[in-house]
């Protein structure tokens, strides 16, 4: 499974979304389960999936799926298709 696919699966699991609700352009404001608990759940999921721990500041600054990708790419995790 590619990292993009892993991330998509993670986002669906963490925020309890249907596949039809997902896109790589998804914004936090569009997801009602992306609240403070969702922030923690995403951070834990990213650690379990990609092995990187967001700092608390990083976790709360993320506002979109694209932000997750951008941040993880700075840690050497590639999302090339």
């Amino acid at each position: 499974m590619s990292n993009r696919e892993k991330l998509k699966k993670l986002i669906l699991d963490v925020f309890l979304l249907d596949e039809s609700e997902f896109s790589f352009e998804l914004q936090r404001a569009q997801v009602d389960t992306w609240d403070s608990l969702g922030v923690v759940s995403l951070a834990v999921g990213v650690h379990q999936t990609f092995g990187y721990h967001f700092t608390p500041e990083e976790a709360t600054s993320i506002q979109s799926v694209a932000d997750v990708i951008k941040l993880l790419e700075t840690k050497g995790i590639s999302f090339d298709a």
């Binding site: 699991d13 963490v14 925020f15 309890l16 389960t33 609240d35 403070s36 608990l37 923690v40 759940s41 951070a43 834990v44 999921g45 650690h47 379990q48 092995g51 721990h53 700092t55 608390p56």
Partner: protein, 343 residues
């Protein structure tokens, strides 16, 4: 926002401000919550904290209290009970901020300011609930502001020990949070691999637990046995902190101090009521615990009568904390086995 939270939790108390804020909160809930107003239709004010209306905790299983005029978020659920019914507490933005500030201030007083990794004895899947949050998760998250990273130990029923090793390897100290039962079963008796045990022997660990002792009492596991098992094979300075709380008093937690007392922060109070007359009990007399705080804006859970028995302790505490303190004697006999009260 209550100014009472601007000072340390166990410093000098301003009982007049506490009463004023509690009365204001009562009026707000009476105006905004029809179910509450139906129970207390004649409230016109209180000259003492003992005179404030209260709700029995059992009502939160039957009525989804909700005060209008605030932005509600998730519903906080107590853990499963013998009746299968959970207490439901409507959380809101303002209260969530106050409650986080409260629990953080209380925890810091017991574990210090230092941030460190947090290991939670739970499955991360428990974070994934639409519109709800469990008492277990809420309790774990109260440690989050003190955590540099958060690792959930379990995946389903399986402990992921390698994740713990990764999270704490480079750190001298870390937190472990779990329900009391889970800490015993999953950590103390969880079969930690020898290589991780070797690593943990050099780590200062603060074990924090809540949720009650019923299951451990049934297995004849004492506090001494739990503490001993947890602290065995850890570095000096490791400790175990047991806190008591209720979902119906979210944000106000009562860690057991070094002298065996549970202290009440300055933004809350405890009243002991005679279970037969419901009048405030004499100092030292055992009775039902009633808690009042000024953090609950989303629903009238600012003043609740519990099914737990306790008594106030006289005089100053050897631990140095001031303010009222109590000892917990357990649940009222024949009361429903409620879900663990922990936040």
């Amino acid at each position: 926002m209550s100014a009472l939270l601007d000072a340390p939790p166990y410093g000098p108390r301003d009982e007049a401000a506490l009463l004023r804020e509690a009365v204001e909160l009562t009026r707000k809930h009476l105006a905004g919550c029809r179910d509450y107003a139906a129970i207390w239709p004649d409230f016109s004010g209180a000259e003492s904290l003992e005179g404030l209306p209260y709700l029995h905790v059992g009502l939160f299983k039957r009525i989804a209290f909700r005060t209008e005029g605030v932005k509600h978020q998730r519903v906080l659920l107590s853990s499963a009970t013998t009746s299968g019914t959970s207490s439901q507490v409507a959380l809101d933005e303002v209260s969530a901020q106050l409650q986080a500030k409260s629990s953080l201030a209380i925890l810091k007083d017991f574990v210090g300011e230092g941030k460190r990794p947090l290991v939670v004895i739970d499955d991360a899947a428990s974070l994934r609930q639409r519109g709800q949050v469990s008492a277990r998760v809420a309790a774990a998250l109260s440690l989050l502001p003190l955590a540099t990273t958060t690792t959930f130990l379990l995946k389903g029923e399986e402990p992921q020990w390698s994740l713990v090793g990764d999270a704490v390897r480079a750190e001298p100290a870390f937190f472990v949070y779990g329900f009391t039962w889970a800490l015993w079963k999953r950590w103390a008796q969880g079969g930690i691999p020898p290589s991780l045990k070797e690593l943990l022997a050099h780590k200062q660990i603060h074990f924090v637990h809540s949720g009650g002792w019923k299951k451990l009492e049934a297995e004849a596991v004492s506090r001494e046995a739990l503490d001993g098992a947890l602290l065995s094979g850890t570095a000096a300075g490791s400790r175990v902190i047991d806190f008591y709380g209720l979902v119906e008093q979210n944000g106000v937690i009562f860690p057991l101090c070094e002298a065996g007392a549970r202290h009440v922060p300055r933004w809350a109070t405890v009243i002991i009521r005679d279970p037969w007359t419901m009048k405030p009990a004499e100092p030292g007399q055992q009775g039902l615990l009633q808690f009042i705080n000024v953090l609950a804006h989303g629903a009238p859970y600012h003043s609740v009568l519990t099914e737990d028995l306790g008594s106030l302790l006289p005089g100053p505490c050897p631990c140095g904390r001031s303010g009222p303190r109590f000892t917990l004697h357990g649940r009222v006999p024949k009361a429903e086995l409620r879900g663990c009260a922990n936040v």
